[in-house]
């Protein structure tokens, strides 16, 4: 895992020294994201897709739609699953094989942010109640690592889902049958935006890069919806936050989230936009 990368002590000292002067090593303000680029339809053969770059961090998300059996306790709802994987070419410390705890946490936090925002109305993804529903799979792969994978994966999945065209099925002879030539947008509503912050000493930094990630005491990822409400959250790292800091992070996530949300407004199925 990239968590295991070692930052040289001169750089670490420089980062901490600059923070005391109110500066970041790459010149950003404390609450400033790196440049975010969002390219939809990166994988034309998928039902929806996006390539997102935050600085040098790069994530590709592809959405696949296919009929599935509903979960036994929710036969009136479709299935939404969001995953995340760190490809071994993204960092020298990533190992092949089953994902470790960091990657599993990443996937679950990204999934939870989108799920809990109710971005996707799963009640509209039913082909035949209790028998057959539409499954929406948003798979994120990390291609290059420079910190803050939580937000990069979340942005990629959100953009990919907004760009998705879904095939249609009808229930015939006890099985879902594809309705040829009939496609529709996914039932998407609110736009979840995740904002990750780290604490280094007394300072809270938005969108930490890989070097800052190595210096952090604690981190928090807060997802807000289009109403400006907080819908999911995850604290991590080996230390904690004060109440004041947590409140500040909440405010920052709403404010920065609202700015970033504008980037997603223009993305819809068939927009093919590079934002």
């Amino acid at each position: 895992m990239a968590e295991a990368a070692i930052i040289d002590s001169l750089k670490k000292a420089r980062i901490e020294e600059l923070l005391e002067q109110g500066k970041r090593l790459d010149g950003r303000a404390f609450d400033e994201f790196r440049e975010i680029s969002i390219e939809t339809s990166a994988i034309p053969k998928a039902n929806g897709s996006a390539r997102v770059k935050i600085g040098d961090t790069e994530v590709v998300c592809g959405v696949k739609i296919q009929p599935d059996r509903p979960f036994p306790d929710s036969g009136d709802k479709g299935i939404f699953i969001c995953t995340a994987e760190m490809l071994p070419l993204s960092h020298p410390t990533v190992e092949t094989g089953p994902p470790g705890p960091h990657v599993i946490e990443l996937a679950r936090v990204v999934d939870r942010g989108i799920r809990e925002s109710h971005m996707i109305d799963v009640s509209q993804l039913v082909i035949k109640e209790n028998k057959s529903v539409v499954g929406v799979f948003a798979d994120n792969v990390v291609v290059d690592y420079d910190g803050n994978l939580f937000d990069a994966c979340s942005f990629a999945a959100t953009a990919a889902l907004r760009s998705t065209r879904s095939p249609k099925w009808e229930f015939k002879d006890d099985a879902p049958a594809l309705v040829e030539g009939s496609e529709a947008d996914l039932p998407v509503g609110t736009i979840p935006v995740s904002v990750t912050m780290v604490r280094i000493g007394q300072h809270i930094l938005v969108d930490p890069n890989a070097d800052e990630w190595q210096c952090m005491d604690a981190r928090i990822t807060i997802t807000t919806n289009s109403d400006g409400n907080i819908c999911a959250l995850q604290k991590g790292g080996h230390n904690g936050f004060t109440l004041e800091q947590i409140k500040e992070c909440g405010k920052t996530s709403v404010r920065i989230g609202a700015e970033i949300r504008k980037k997603f407004d223009g993305i819809s199925a068939g927009s093919d936009a590079k934002q």
Binding site: I6, I7, D8, S9, L10, K11, K12, R14
Partner: protein
């Protein structure tokens, strides 16, 4: 001094002439001398070699390298030296012959992440390179910024008899430690000078095969701010890969 230079990639035939193959070339069919890396081929005197533009550092005994401590056991440190192999620094090198694994704590001297200037004391293909920091000018590096360049370009950064690096040091009032492994540490009290020195080093790295490099670096250092736009054509572009496949 007639040196024939050309850009090459692996598999490119450099010459079929009667030359002696040296670094980064291989003999094909007993006649063709072929490059094994991306780089600049040089035919000089009766020899052929290629200066690589990418790749890791291959340790050589007596080289000065800049290493990063990546872990330690109770008997030694391991250094990342930008090589295929991990540098091995035994505790006795720092604590002396009286080193006691019970009494001496390695972390009091060097910690994970620390940068050190070290010399390759021993290396052969059967074991990892042994490095030492027990000499003048060696040991932990306490200040400065790390810049990484391709190991193949270190000679250009140093320049003939150190001219290039002296030019940069004098103009920016900085102290620069160059590891043969492509790790360069720049120390400078003045923020402006630091920025300029780093810019000059990166410039040498990206233009290592163009002519009058020292002049261009000087020009940049003397200018008010930043590097001049690179507009030069190199002497070798014209004859680039005309006899690639014969």
């Amino acid at each position: 001094m007639d040196v024939r230079r050309r850009y090459v990639i692996p598999g490119d035939t450099i010459t079929s002439g009667p030359y002696r193959p040296e670094q980064n070339v291989t003999l094909v069919g007993g006649k063709k001398i072929v490059s094994t890396v991306v780089g600049v081929s040089e035919i000089y005197d009766n020899t052929v070699k290629v200066i690589p533009l990418a790749g890791k550092y291959i340790p050589k005994i007596n080289d000065l390298v800049v290493g990063k401590v990546i872990r330690h056991t109770s008997l030694s440190w391991e250094l990342d030296i930008n090589s295929c192999y991990v540098g091995f620094l035994p505790a006795t090198d720092v604590f002396g012959r009286d080193f006691s694994a019970h009494a001496d704590e390695l972390a009091t001297k060097l910690r994970t992440g620390d940068l050190v200037a070290a010399r390759v004391a021993n290396f052969d293909r059967t074991r990892d390179p042994l490095v030492t920091i027990s000499d003048r000018d060696l040991g932990k590096i306490d200040s400065g910024d790390l810049v990484e360049i391709a190991p193949g370009r270190v000679p250009r950064l140093i320049g003939k008899r150190g001219t290039m690096i002296q030019t940069i040091e004098t103009a920016t009032n900085s102290v620069i430690t160059i590891g043969q492994n492509g790790r360069v540490v720049v120390a400078c009290d003045d923020a402006e000078g630091l920025l300029k020195a780093k810019k000059a080093i990166r410039m040498v790295n990206s233009m290592a095969h163009s002519t009058n490099l020292t002049e261009k670096v000087k020009e940049m250092l003397e200018s008010g701010n930043g590097a001049p736009r690179e507009t030069t054509t190199t002497t070798i572009t014209t004859e680039r890969r005309e006899d690639d496949r014969e």
